[in-house]
Symmetry: C3
Subunit: 486 residues, 3 copies
């Protein structure tokens, strides 16, 4: 920190930020961090729009880049009494006055973010990408807005230039099974583009007969796969076909997020019967749940066949506040974690596929109690199970520390799956990965200082956490952990 030429606080990121305070630990951590701070970003799960990289247009304005679409930012402002309508949510493109007003809301409420990772990310992005180090505040609102807006006109701040500058080696998107993946194809076929953006097969809405519009959705699935989905067998074939299509477009993984992780399979006849009922809009809630659980097990079966890694992000109550959903839509900051159980829930799946050669199941949770009690013990036995990174509410300095301390005892480092940024905020990718590297360096420094690891071993682990583990768990290949889907 320091002051600018008008005596205002500057927030220059400290080179030792997030490293442990104790001097001996900090020295070790700094050395470990140095080993990985320049390594490329491996991003196996996120929500960046690939079309942004195809079009490579300038970002429109600071508010649209940093605030309006990012529910991490808007939820905290909302919690402090700023309406989502004041933040441009669900209003389409902002004009200059509108964008400036939204930016001002953030600046005025900047103290609300103290102590949160959101502030940490935003400060890192502003300073390290945009060279803006003024402390945000009502009195710096216009100045900082102008500084960012000015940069956005510079071609060096377009998406592809930033992708290169961020050192991204591979970026996985999250995609609807019916998506034609034309953006992915366009990138692949573009001789001027040398990045790697891979799709991820995310079939949630097609596996939940209770979701509104499900009969139409599976019809569209049939159309996309050119298969008649009026029968259960057709539906299964269509899903298998779309998975193949995704693999042909570079996918290495599927992704799943349901409220629980039930995986009890149904008999073929029962599956057929419920499928038909659901198509007719007549399945009960219990039947719809049973069918969805069956289908999650089916996804594992398909993964054993086609080699896609299977990642699960369960246990979120979506759209907790219905009036906000009705007015502003989903992903607006009120998805709230739920209590979760996976040991019994996953047993049917793991009894069938848990030791299948090459099957990978990456288990994420936002219920921290699962780390030491359920997920680490499962990953410490099943060759297929990887511990997903601390995610969403947990991808923060304190939670990442708790995560490592909770899972390492039972699962070591080699059954964890690296870091995922899980973000739609493109510019936050470097800061999020850097945060994870810094915190892991601090944790590993503790192991060294307590003589549980030699420092050269810790340095090897450091590199594996950043580079090898996500490539292996998500079958991304490349780097030091090549392993491609069958």
């Amino acid at each position: 920190m320091g002051e600018d030429d008008r005596g205002r606080t500057r927030r220059t990121p400290h080179p030792d930020r997030l490293l442990p305070a104790e001097p001996h630990l900090r020295d070790i951590a700094r050395r470990l961090y140095q080993r990985v701070c320049e390594l490329p970003v491996v991003s196996p799960h996120g929500h960046v729009d690939p079309g942004m990289l195809v079009r490579d247009e300038p970002f429109p304005d600071p508010a649209t880049l940093f605030i309006t679409p990012d529910h991490y930012v808007t939820r905290m402002l909302h919690a402090h009494g700023v309406g989502l309508d004041e933040l441009g949510v669900a209003q389409g493109p902002l004009d200059e006055a509108g964008a400036r007003a939204v930016w001002r809301r953030l600046c005025e409420n900047w103290p609300a973010f103290r102590g949160t990772p959101i502030r940490y990310w935003l400060e890192a992005e502003l300073a390290e990408i945009f060279g803006v180090e003024q402390q945000l505040a009502a009195e710096t609102a216009d100045e900082t807005y102008d500084a960012v807006a000015q940069r956005l006109k510079d071609p060096a701040f377009r998406p592809r230039a930033l992708y290169a500058r961020f050192g991204i080696d591979v970026l996985a998107t999250t995609d609807d099974p019916c998506d034609d993946l034309s953006d992915h194809a366009a990138l692949r076929d573009d001789p001027t583009w040398d990045g790697r953006v891979v799709p991820t097969f995310r079939p949630d809405a097609y596996l939940e007969p209770a979701a509104p519009g499900w009969p139409e959705r599976v019809k569209r699935l049939g159309a996309a796969a050119d298969v008649d989905t009026s029968s259960y067998e057709g539906y299964i074939a269509a899903l298998e076909s779309r998975r193949r299509y995704f693999i042909a477009h570079g996918a290495t993984a599927t992704d799943h997020s349901h409220i629980d992780l039930g995986t009890e399979p149904l008999g073929r006849d029962e599956a057929r019967r419920i499928y038909a009922s659901a198509l007719a809009g007549q399945a009960t809630a219990a039947e719809a749940t049973a069918f969805r659980r069956h289908m999650v097990a089916e996804m594992a079966r398909m993964s054993c066949d086609d080699g896609l890694a299977m990642a699960v992000h369960p246990g979120i109550v979506r759209n907790h506040h219905r009036p906000t959903f009705d007015r502003f839509g989903g992903d607006t900051g009120h998805d709230i974690p739920a209590q979760l159980e996976v040991v019994r829930a996953l047993r049917p799946l793991l009894e069938r596929y848990g030791t299948h050669p090459g099957f990978h199941l990456v288990l994420f949770t936002v219920d921290e109690t699962l780390y030491s009690r359920e997920i680490a013990p499962l990953a410490g036995f099943y060759p297929s199970v990887y511990v997903g990174a601390p995610w969403w509410f947990l991808d923060t300095p304190d939670a990442i520390r708790r995560f490592r301390h909770a899972v390492t005892d039972s699962a070591g480092f080699g059954k964890t799956a690296g870091f995922v940024d899980d973000t739609r905020a493109f510019c936050s990718i470097p800061a999020r990965h850097d945060l994870s590297r810094r915190v892991d360096a601090g944790v590993l420094a503790e192991y060294v200082a307590e003589h549980r690891l030699d420092e050269d071993e810790a340095a090897e682990v450091m590199v594996e956490l950043v580079d090898r583990q996500p490539r292996v768990a998500f079958k991304l290949g490349g780097g030091s952990g090549a392993e491609a889907p069958a």
Copy 2:
């Protein structure tokens, strides 16, 4: 620590107690603590008897002051084999021999309290209020008893003098809806008293049709409100009336403690029907639960109307050991935390009132797993939701640290509700608040040392945690966070 003139250990409180051990962190923490160590006590939730301040009589004896009514102390002695009968519980006033014997039990068993906050509080009280620094032990029992007993005869140790000495700015009591609040009125009308003691509306027993004596209780409620409670409408009107009465006597909040936080409202007809059944003693257990959940939602509705903040302390299995309850009554040390869920339970309430302007819902828990998973995410979206302080079993150095690390990521500091002492042990109030300030200073020092906050920001946060946050969350006004109920 040190020795007295007879070579016995003295326990002089260390000026840096509870601050982090690492020297750099301790320096920062010491500076942060200095900013708040002299600030007045804001106590928004507790169980002090206001009549004690009206009467201002000397405390009877050391055992009655420190042991017999304090279930924190008696439960630990009981856990080590000392019967509650040996501690004077439920035996009325103690004579001098009896009080001395009770005090001796504490002294003999003093090592049982090592490592507990109970010892920390008692040592702080004895040293800082009473100037007694001998280590408690069988051989110091009489001497320390005499020293405290001697002080209690001094007018400087009467309740009002201690209130002033403790620096209490405002003290909230917990009161029955039928209470005439005459003690509060007496204090308000006493020209020689310049403290502030406000009542809190605690209607638990009136909202639980399954509680013994409920029909008589709602009849008394009607009498207190001068409303006929033989109908559901009359019952609602009586509650609304008593809330107004409390507001007129200075109340700013209601307080609620039920076994779960269910808030599903009933239709008007169903509410009427169950009310009538319950009055007739014919409601089923399920109906009684449904009615109570409905009434908790009604309390939120009333808060939206009358502006009282709503605090909830759910999830306690009361009187776990029935034989002890039968012999010694309630609040005797065997209320035990229960597992809790609030995300789904609160959804009906929050969908209706969660974004109502001015509505405040302060969520306490003794199930720590809720902090990062449920309460912080809720407080990080809903403007009404505040994270209640770590409470009861959790108002301790280690638990407060865990609390801050668990909630700050998702809710920052500005959606937490400050500290509550929740005590009936009047003399423990300063030690409890001081403990909280010391621990928070240590946590904030970590943020500074890890370059996540500038030290001047941390100092601002420190003051807010002590002074602003409890005033805002509980609508106490005054200080830097004035906001009064409508």
Copy 3:
């Protein structure tokens, strides 16, 4: 660490390993650790075969000593893709080539254990018992195998010599109620043996009517007790008789592990009825569960009569992966923790027996969330309840720290039950106890550095945790905490 004469890494255990990194804390911790590092081992719960000490034969080979029977080791290798068949599991005695091949699997996969307590234990065992300090790796596999195999031929490495060298004061085994305890008797009657090995009454399989073969099992119980178990009364009498037999052979405790801790008693007639149904193979699943819960309460009743301490290790889903169980049997690394609740579950038992003089109930859990929420508050009221040590997945540096911080606030140190190694890996006993002592010394150092305990008090606590607490809780007598069963 360092290098050997061929330039390879040596892993010489550091004298300060596991002590806190911060210099001031480390100094205190080192002094506290010095107070207990030479104290005898008190091992109140484990799975060592007493016949091993009767026979006192050399251990066959390094793989059989360190790998094949130890599910901690085999599960991690399995998690990294090494089949249990490659590790000699369930294959009977290994020949030399087989043992060497198994050892090589461990060495090749040594990095998989980084950060785990398994590595910590194995390194300590190899270095401190066998003088082997080479880092395990593919290239050191044969050399280290030979070094260990060579030592195993030396009489100084036979079980009795190691028992003496490990400084074991008392070792409790875990035994079937029908066991004739002839090994225990042989040791007791052997004039050349001066160790103490006591049996523990573990009746799980006799209390679960749903377990396969239960009718035959209770028939065998009757035969062992010489009581007709065709009636419920006979069954109860047989259990009481076998408990007396165990007491006569030195037992001081019973041990119980069921999936939940339900303790609701049945009426006598209902118990009789279900017992008869179960003998006839006709009890429903619900009846079997109800009967088992009733019997756990009965075990408490018997403990009040005969004075055996009662230890419970609930909440484990046994044999999660059925195909592995079918092929390799139980205890093969896929027992996984389950979520647990004990406050309500134990209420029936504690209301009846919780304040019975001399009754001891030691509560273990692998669900960490219970420590602060349930177990510590129960132990902080009930004189009978002791907090069991962090166990199985939790007997590790980080988990032990979390345990102390979670339970001390509400239960102090004096209601915790010391450490249990719970191991069938005989040579890991010293390393496991030493780990626990080091970590506790570090935790206590924090209390001293934060001025919450004087250092002389912390030193007393240190000794109590190692020596007094397990003797008291498990009624082992001896040391400083003599208390024998009635």
